[in-house]
Symmetry: none
Subunit: 207 residues, 4 copies
């Protein structure tokens, strides 16, 4: 029955991920269990607390991040770097990092996550950093873009848009990715205009 248990666990993770991605908001546990085709008790056996479920989901996603990065790394050094770069970003966005990572961790601090997960996160960020370095070397990204900001940006707009916006704008996400990539690119005037080197100099935004 070990095999069955594993299958159930996978089904639960898949169901949770789908529901979280679709709804953005925390779905009832009973619904996750129903979607996975198991009883509510089984969900609790595999993930005794909501945190355990989150950790499970994040583990999956981070592993995929690493896999995606590694899959594309070689091409980024080649002649087709621009296309490769867009492909990586497309894949990362398709992961729906947005709904998962930020919404689920809510008020949780990094320190509260188990060290296993933090290791995975470090690994994923490391892979992204390598990719970003290659993209910079290929002239696709300004040198001052940090790994943390880059991935945070990815998460920021890979979140689902509420129907009010999304319905009215098919193709919106693809457009957002394009704009994001364009915004990261070095500018003709050497990138000085969009540098954040002196953000304090900007007008303080109205509260």
């Amino acid at each position: 029955m070990r095999a069955d248990a594993r299958a159930n666990r996978e089904a639960l993770l898949a169901a949770a991920r789908q529901l979280y991605a679709a709804r953005g908001t925390s779905a009832p546990f009973s619904q996750i269990a129903a979607e996975a085709g198991v009883g509510i008790g089984t969900l609790y056996r595999h993930f005794p607390t909501p945190d355990d479920l989150i950790v499970g989901l994040l583990t999956d996603v981070l592993e995929q991040v690493t896999a995606i990065c590694r899959r594309h790394r070689e091409r980024l050094s080649g002649a087709d770097a621009a296309a490769a770069w867009r492909d990586v970003v497309d894949d990362l966005v398709a992961l729906e990092l947005g709904p998962l990572v930020p919404q689920l961790v809510a008020d949780r601090a990094l320190a509260d996550l188990p060290s296993d997960l933090l290791d995975l996160r470090a690994e994923g960020l490391g892979e992204i950093e390598r990719l970003l370095d290659l993209a910079k070397r290929a002239g696709l990204v300004r040198p001052d873009v940090t790994t943390l900001f880059f991935q945070a940006g990815l998460a920021a707009f890979s979140r689902p848009l509420p129907a009010l916006l999304g319905d009215a704008a098919p193709g919106l996400r693809a457009w957002l990715v394009e704009v994001y990539l364009a915004g990261l690119r070095p500018t003709a005037d050497d990138g000085a205009a969009v540098s954040l080197s002196s953000p304090a100099a900007r007008r303080s935004p109205r509260r």
Copy 2:
């Protein structure tokens, strides 16, 4: 008594807005009423359904959008267009449109909103369109950027990122806005590279 009722209504809207913005998640109605200093029954008198409360909040926000746009329009035609453009966007972002609106409207379709509100929305979008035209004329925005996409992008980038990302990256929102503005700017090669004229030709982003 009319004055009292109006004051209560304002207090309720303010309380709701603050709670939504602060907690990010939908607060109990009883708490909104308590925060406003009125009984729960009074909340229901002013906003019989949750939708009524949302409509009230959206109305407030849309009126502010229109006001902001009008306040800055003149400067956008002047010599300091670039600074003016950034100021408008900063003000719009400061509205917390991102954090507020999407959470409230959830899965609601445009068609479900009352015509009053749709009128206000049309007015706000009209003002944004005028602004956008001025920005295009000043060479700050590519000509193919539509009003709908622009404001949707604004909302997407200005939504709050929860703790895991937000804490780790102070200044993230300002950076995202900068990247967004940079991405909207015409490119050296005339913007052709980032055109969405043939999005279907792109690689499928899934998996």
Copy 3:
């Protein structure tokens, strides 16, 4: 509706007390509410936490303890002291202190109870002490019996006996009261035999 609310509160306390006394074990909240003829939400409004319900029950009981003691005090100084003494104890036992006080407070320390309740407890113990003094003066109780032990003894056997014992022995409780009163009485040999002055000298009981 204040009157209704008060009536509901009383009904809830009565239902809880009856159920606790009958079952000895913590009854489902839903059952208490049903017994009181109100919705489960009403129970939670009046007693947000189980502790609040306990405090309410204890308050009631302690007030009755004080009332009983005061009612009988005069007679205890009269010629009919022996009969009066038995009546007080009967009344106190009839309160079913047993099921309420010890079972409900479970792992709670005295310090956790609100000061209002502690005051009531002190008042009740004070009344019992006065009664006990009169009983001692009337030669009905040995001088070395402390108030605390006396009331603890009352609680000890006013608890409901499980069916296994109770069914098989009608009249058991009345008999226990008699034995308790007899055990408290000064003995012919001056009470030395039952004194606890040197309990350490007794054989250590097997674990």
Copy 4:
């Protein structure tokens, strides 16, 4: 394998007894199994229903009751009858019969118990009766005390008092046992005063 099974059974009974005694409240079955170091399925194999577990526990206890009585019987006929009597009672109290049994049997009637167990019970009561007779003959117990009442009183007085009382009164149980024994002793006026020969003549204890 028979030896293993027997060991498991013993471990389960020990774990159940310890948990009941320690926590006072019924512990989850899964915890009993865990404490015994076996799977939950094993618990169910040995004790298919909760009743079977109770019967197992009661069997153990009753066997010990019989053993204790037999161990002390001789001394009760000797010169040191008073000390022997107290020792027996101490040993019986130390069995934690009070804390353990009543909680387990709850609302079960005698008739529901299996005949094996009823036989054991009869045997235990028989032993107690013999002891009681010796105590009466030694002038330690009034002649009208019945075996049933005696053992029920023992259980009633030796049940544990929760924190509120227990903490405040160390030595309470020993004191209660002393008072009980004193109350059982013949009185100077021949015991007539505490006879229950006409209990119906007493004032009704309710309200």
